[in-house]
């Protein structure tokens, strides 16, 4: 597995969403902690991107059509 590429702008963008939604409930200290949490999420997402996927690679969960009488 190769080292995940990091884009510092990605964390800023995603954190801006979190701050916009919840900033008025939070202290400066909590916002700092949330920024670090978002940075961790972005690192995690970058790790996922290190594995190449093809169009045929489906999610594990399969959709099952439903009939109440079956």
């Amino acid at each position: 597995m190769s080292e995940p590429a990091r884009d510092p702008g990605e964390a800023d963008l995603r954190f801006a969403l979190v701050r916009l939604r919840y900033g008025d409930r939070l202290t400066a200290e909590q916002l700092d902690a949330l920024r670090r949490a978002v940075e961790t999420i972005v690192e995690q997402v970058a790790a996922l991107a290190t594995v190449p996927l093809t169009n045929a690679d489906e999610p594990l969960q399969r959709f099952v059509p439903f009939r109440a009488d079956e």
């Binding site: 979190v18 939604r21 997402v45 996922l48 594995v51």
Partner: protein, 464 residues
């Protein structure tokens, strides 16, 4: 007989032979729960009234020759995320929900009632099963879970299930695991804990943390007792479409002379604490008496990132109402009051990508396990932490746990059993993880382990 610290199998024989009555047993454990439960912050509700009704019924049935099986008349405790009728609160460990009640019993509670078991307590747990990102033990309105071993953290999120079994407050308990919540308290409390295959046990009536990761399973004094309990709670359930149609019967057959094929993922214990590594290394020598031990390699995949992305995404959705309304501000752990807001930063495509990569995980895990009876590893990479310190957690990402990431993403069965003690007297543990639906294989391996070791017979000084 003294029923405390007597395995379920022995209690069952005594009950069947009418050497001890279910009512006497129940009263003994009710007394311990009320007297000692607060010492370990292990109990939310002692269900005395319901327990005595069930115990008297069991006593009458057995006296009339209607013994139902090994759990008939045996007291147990349920993690407080399992719904119970009759006005008994089901709090999910969360202060804002401390008055929550349901008008039905969870399927697991129903199945145990059908087996004749006696519900004596709803047991403490980390609030919302740890799904809000807690970092330290004080994360439940009942206080931090305390292990009888050294007064350290009991582990979580099935904290009361671990400490109650370890302190002899119940003969067995039901816990749940999304990532580590059965194996961790089993390890910290020095007991046996079985995480069944995903879908083996119905989740109906259990709090949902992550719909594709949550499993219910037993904690008990021995691996054999875990098998007895799983036999009673496993099976299909029309109220939980993920409950598999595969039948399960516990195979308690003799393991004497049976040889197992164990695998060890390269460097699986490298990041563990030194005392855990040492105990694991000694365990590998002991395991060579009952089988072969070989190093195995696995494909290089971001296992922990995959499982963590699924867990964080599903938990954010499961508790969207509490998060967006700000109700999480009423939780106990300061970090649980806001950390989940960060999960809005996970995009839909991130979650879907994790689910696509999960296909790789399940196939790779099955490839490795298809030639083995079990992968072995430390049950937990660290020993129990002090109550006032942050702990190391794979689900949070500050300690590697490839076994937990693979095992939970792939929904594989695993059992944690005691395998030693640190110089400071804290238990360490060993896990056996098997192929999907191979609970009988991991149980057999763990029973063989407990036949040639005595770590599971050590008791904390609860009654000193």
């Amino acid at each position: 007989m003294n029923p405390v610290y007597t395995p379920v199998r022995e209690l069952a024989e005594a009950v069947r032979a009418r050497q001890v009555s279910p009512v006497t047993l129940t009263e003994a454990f009710l007394d311990r729960l009320e007297r000692l439960g607060p010492r370990y912050n292990a109990v939310v509700t002692v269900t005395r009234e319901r327990a005595l009704v069930q115990a008297r019924r069991a006593e009458g049935e057995i006296a009339a020759g209607g013994w139902r099986g090994p759990l008939h008349g045996i007291p147990y405790g349920a993690k407080d995320l399992l719904a119970t009728a009759g006005g008994i609160p089901t709090t999910w460990g969360a202060a804002p929900l401390r008055a929550q009640t349901f008008d039905f019993d969870a399927t697991v509670v129903q199945r145990l009632e059908q087996a004749g078991a006696v519900l004596v307590a709803k047991l403490a747990m980390v609030e919302l099963a740890g799904g809000m990102g807690y970092r330290q033990p004080n994360a439940s309105f009942t206080g931090p879970g305390i292990s009888p071993w050294g007064g350290t953290w009991s582990g979580g999120s099935s904290s009361g299930s671990g400490s109650a079994v370890s302190a002899g407050l119940v003969p067995f308990a039901i816990g749940s695991e999304t990532w580590g919540s059965i194996l961790s308290p089993a390890a910290n409390c020095g007991v046996s804990g079985l995480r069944p295959t995903y879908g083996r046990v119905s989740r109906h009536g259990a709090m949902a943390l992550c719909w594709t990761l949550d499993k219910l399973g037993p904690l008990a004094l021995t691996a054999d007792d875990c098998g007895l309990v799983l036999d009673a709670i496993a099976g299909p359930d029309p109220r939980d479409p993920t409950a598999a149609l595969r039948p399960f019967r516990y195979d308690a057959g003799d393991v004497v002379g049976r040889r197992f094929r164990f695998g060890v993922i390269r460097d699986v214990a490298a990041a563990a604490e030194e005392s855990v590594r040492d105990a694991f290394s000694r365990s590998l020598d002991v395991l060579s008496r009952i089988g072969t031990v070989e190093d195995v390699t696995i494909a290089d995949l971001p296992y922990e990132a995959i499982t963590r992305t699924i867990l964080m995404s599903e938990a954010a959705s499961a508790f969207e109402d509490m998060i967006e309304s700000g109700a999480i501000a009423g939780l106990t752990a300061p970090e649980d009051r806001f950390t989940a807001y960060a999960r809005d930063a996970i995009l839909a495509k991130d979650y879907i990508k994790a689910l696509r990569l999960r296909t790789f995980v399940v196939r790779e895990a099955d490839r490795v396990l298809s030639g083995l009876d079990a992968l072995v590893a430390p049950g937990r990479p660290a020993v129990a932490s002090p109550l006032d310190q942050e702990f190391r957690s794979a689900a949070r990402g500050n300690v590697p746990d490839v076994m937990g990431a693979i095992g939970n993403a792939a929904g594989l069965p695993a059992i944690a059993v005691p395998n030693g003690f640190t110089e400071g007297g804290l238990p360490t543990s060993l896990q056996f993880m098997g192929r999907a639906w191979e609970e009988n294989t991991v149980l057999a391996a763990a029973r063989a382990w407990q036949r040639i070791t005595d770590w599971h017979l050590r008791r904390a000084a609860v009654d000193a």
